[in-house]
């Protein structure tokens, strides 16, 4: 339903000036029954007999303003009168709802009011204001309305700029009005068959552009035009763009959802382009940022954003901006970098339909394979390294990875992450109970993580991944370790007497202090009674990772933030399993894109 309401019903250009309010162009222009009516009405013959009946008929129709998806019962004059607003309304959002129809526009004064500049070509009829209006169904959601207003504003700014540069809009308006007059002058028989707007399409470039805008908005929500071959105006309606290109008709992704996803973007995420990089580069407009091309050239689904930044020679912040941009424009999606320990499962929204376009596209890409067979494989959570035959030839393995990438691009798979909860006693854990102040790492903002990241990059820039893990105990990382490194010497001092204490069953108070303060003493003792807690190394590590065991951080995030190796982490979790509960579900980014 939402998908339908995001398409425009019509696009209308009106102007107001010395010749009164004029409708310059509308598309689509043939409302089936009103076509004749429209043409007749556009003739302003002062001697014509005004038929009172005509209006009576319209007045009595209480229902819809739409008929077969087109505007109904709106003559050109009426549209001009209501959409060419008073000049007081210029420069702000214009919204008008009539029954089940909603007009959205951004009326714009032709000349900047304050400068008081007079039109350079003051001879001839002058235009005071114009308005590009989108007619939508009234049920359109607020975010759709916001997007259309934004687009109308952008078009208006471009048109006004071109008007100031070379009188583009005045010229186009003259052509359009000329066509109307021309058609009006035609003999009766001809002008019934001809709409002035179809002639305009031949003569006016702006008319063609507006038609193009309308058609692209209806098809995939992605518009790019060059106003007067000069100013580029581009626009993306995320509600459509994300679904159409991926053959996901049933899903609507709203800009708010995308923003939510971008809020949880982390340096360890990766960007997955939804199309071939070369194809995307070819589509780019000439004046885009060169950084974007660099990103396109070096990005792979295996590379985290941090590495992407390093390879493309960009700061993390810049990479985040570019990636956010690409995600909004439905050119990319966010994943966790592909690696063999990733666990994937079939998305609940995956379409299983046989003989669908999706299945045949899959066969085009991977001849001899069946999409459904692969989907069957992913019905159970599957680690990338378990999928397929481990003895297979290298090219088979490559193909397996490619199928996974393809399925991720089409949102058929979701990645499952493991989350850890600390529940030491039989009651609910006090570490987990929500209280804002304790959320130290709970919702670490992007900045914090980026900061931690930049520290790491500076500290460990010349280590490869394995080196850095090896040095993990020594390497100070951010505030956490800094506080612990002080404790390290204490620990060493304690070690000697420690074993005696434990044997006697008395708990060393110093050790307890390492655990988060939110835990009750009962819970702390439960943790200390775990056999593995006797090893100071393990215990120290556990205490350090404790804040992550609130179910908000998956293993990969803990590995990233604390620079721990997966095997170390898994061993630790296993040793302390009696006080921990683990579960697997998708992460927050995935939740957004799969509407879970």
């Amino acid at each position: 339903m939402d998908d339908q309401t995001s398409s425009p019903v019509a696009i209308i250009l009106v102007s107001s000036g010395s010749r009164g309010d004029k409708l310059l162009f509308r598309y689509p222009y043939i409302g089936p029954q009103t076509a004749e009516n429209t043409v007749k009405k556009s003739v302003q013959n002062p001697y014509a007999v005004r038929l009172a009946d005509d209006q009576q008929v319209e007045k009595k129709r209480p229902g819809s303003c739409l008929s077969k998806g087109h505007l109904f019962g709106f003559t050109d004059d009426l549209l001009a009168a209501i959409l060419a607003t008073k000049s007081e309304l210029c420069g702000q959002k214009f919204e008008l709802k009539i029954n089940d129809l909603r007009f959205i526009g951004h009326p714009t004064l032709m000349h900047y009011g304050s400068k008081g500049q007079v039109s350079p070509k003051s001879e001839g009829p002058s235009m005071i204001l114009f308005n590009i209006v989108f007619a939508l169904k009234a049920a359109a959601s607020i975010s759709v309305i916001q997007c259309y207003h934004d687009f109308s504003k952008r078009l208006a700014i471009a048109l006004r700029h071109e008007e100031h540069r070379c009188g583009y809009l005045s010229h186009e308006a003259k052509v359009m009005l000329g066509v109307v007059d021309e058609v009006a002058a035609l003999p009766e028989a001809d002008f019934d068959s001809q709409s002035p707007f179809s002639l305009m399409l031949n003569k006016s470039e702006l008319a063609r552009d507006l038609k193009h805008v309308y058609l692209s908005l209806c098809s995939n929500g992605d518009v790019r035009i060059n106003v007067n071959h000069w100013i580029e105006v581009s626009f993306c309606l995320p509600h459509k763009a994300h679904c159409q290109s991926r053959l996901l008709d049933h899903m609507v992704i709203k800009p708010e959802q995308i923003n939510k996803c971008l809020e949880v973007l982390r340096p360890y995420h990766a960007m997955l382009l939804l199309d071939d990089a070369n194809k995307l580069i070819a589509e780019l407009s000439p004046d885009m940022s060169p950084a974007l091309i660099r990103v396109f050239r070096v990005t792979t689904p295996l590379k985290s954003l941090r590495d992407l930044g390093a390879d493309a020679d960009l700061t993390l912040r810049q990479v985040f901006y570019l990636v956010s941009h690409l995600v909004y424009w439905a050119k990319a999606t966010i994943i966790y970098p592909l690696c063999e320990t990733n666990v994937y499962v079939l998305s609940p929204n995956a379409s299983l339909q046989v003989n669908a376009t999706l299945a045949s596209r899959f066969v085009e890409h991977f001849p001899g394979m069946s999409l459904h067979a692969v989907m069957e494989d992913f019905s159970l959570p599957t680690q990338l390294r378990e999928q397929g035959n481990p003895l297979g030839l290298p090219h088979q393995q490559v193909q397996q990875v490619q199928t996974v990438v393809w399925m991720l691009q089409h949102r058929l798979l979701v990645q499952l992450h493991t989350y850890v909860f600390l529940v030491p006693t039989s009651g609910p854990s006090s570490l987990l109970i929500k209280s804002r102040s304790t959320d130290t790492v709970g919702h670490g903002s992007q900045e914090e993580l980026q900061e931690a990241d930049s520290r790491r990059i500076s500290g460990l820039s010349n280590f490869s991944d394995t080196d850095s893990v090896a040095s993990e105990y020594g390497s100070p990382q951010g505030s956490f370790v800094a506080s612990y490194s002080g404790l390290e010497s204490d620990m060493a001092n304690m070690k000697a007497g420690l074993s005696v204490d434990l044997d006697e069953g008395r708990l060393p108070t110093r050790l307890k202090e390492l655990l988060p303060d939110e835990l009750s003493s009962e819970e702390k003792e439960a943790i200390l009674s775990v056999p593995a807690a006797r090893s100071p190394e393990d215990f120290k590590m556990f205490a350090r990772l404790c804040p992550y065991f609130q179910g908000c951080h998956h293993l990969e995030e803990i590995m990233y933030c604390e620079n721990v190796r997966r095997s170390t982490l898994l061993t630790l979790l296993d040793k302390f399993r009696s006080v921990l509960v683990t579960c697997q579900h998708e992460d927050r980014v995935t939740t957004v894109f799969h509407n879970l």
Binding site: M375, G427, D587
Partner: protein, 399 residues
Amino acid sequence: MAAPKESKIECLLFSEFHPTAGPKIMYQACLYAYVRYVLDFPENYIDKELFDAIHIYIITKPQLQGRLIMSNAFGKKIMGCPVCIDHPKYARNALIFNLCFVFDGLANSRPYEKPVRKLSRYLVSLERESGFLSNEESKQTLPRIMAQILTDLNEQGSCAVEVNQVTTIYLKTLLVINNPGEVHMYDVPIFTVQCDSFHSHQWDLTTQQILPYIDGMRHVARISVESDVAISLVKSCLQNMLYYGIIKLLPIFQYSNVYTVTSKINRLAQDRDLQNECNKYVAKPGQLGFPCFRDIFMLFCSLGPGTPVKDWCARHNPQQLKVDERRLIQFGVLHGLLRRIHKYPVLLTNEPGSQNLRLLSRWLNGQHHYDEICCRTGLSYSVLDEMIEDDPTIVVCWK
């Protein structure tokens, strides 16, 4: 059902087409219940400047009369239904007026669409029957009426204003609720409120007939058979109750079902109220004491793809942990902590091998899951499963 707080009416605005002065504001009733008789435009809610800019959407062209028009400008939403009464007795042969509701520019005005239309019809009939608006004396009462409508609608969500001996204006704001999803024959309805907290005798007869069968166990098809009500009627009754949020729908409980935990499980870990509620809900009846939180949480977390409920029961033995597995899963699904994973058989070739499956083939296109196929064909899960397992041309996907 009162309207949400943020969408209060800020002002009621009555404007008229004055025979000599043109479009004009006659009265305004503002939020703070004081009424001003507007002659020389003192500082008012809608000032003359604003009105001049937008009056074409209030006193409109004849083509737009009788339509519900909402304009949004200068941070104000103005919604009205312009009216024109043609009669030779009026100056200019017509009386044109509009009583608008004014809201904040960001308010949700949808609940007021119906009242605005209804109010304009009231005024038309009042004028036609007794000349209410053309008679200066009765017109003087309009500001009082407007003020009362404003306060009552804002405070109670409905109003009944007496205009004269024969007419009372009844208005009510309507919350627009999204349409509930479709009810399928394999869904299981369950009450979300205490069954006795609503008056069952106020429901229609068919609903009353099926009410006793809604117990969180029986599915729609079974309710239809047992209550002797046609399945389409059962579905529409349930849809109605779904709309009012009295019931929710669950999948049929079977030990072959597979559930998975969702990211909302964090709520259970963090929310003490939910924990207490859960504790009471999942406790096995007839047992002393409640199950402990750690066990419950562990039971939730150990559900996942590839673990049917029967395997999960065998592994963790919830009964011994004082947990009723059925209620645990019910609680999880109701609160979105768990999600059902359905099993979809997909036939890849056009001719299935066995005779039996030929009859089933229309259900094997990947759009129907086991629950639905079982319900529609009357096969049991195990029989269907056997038939499908035997056929190599069928793939089975879980999602």
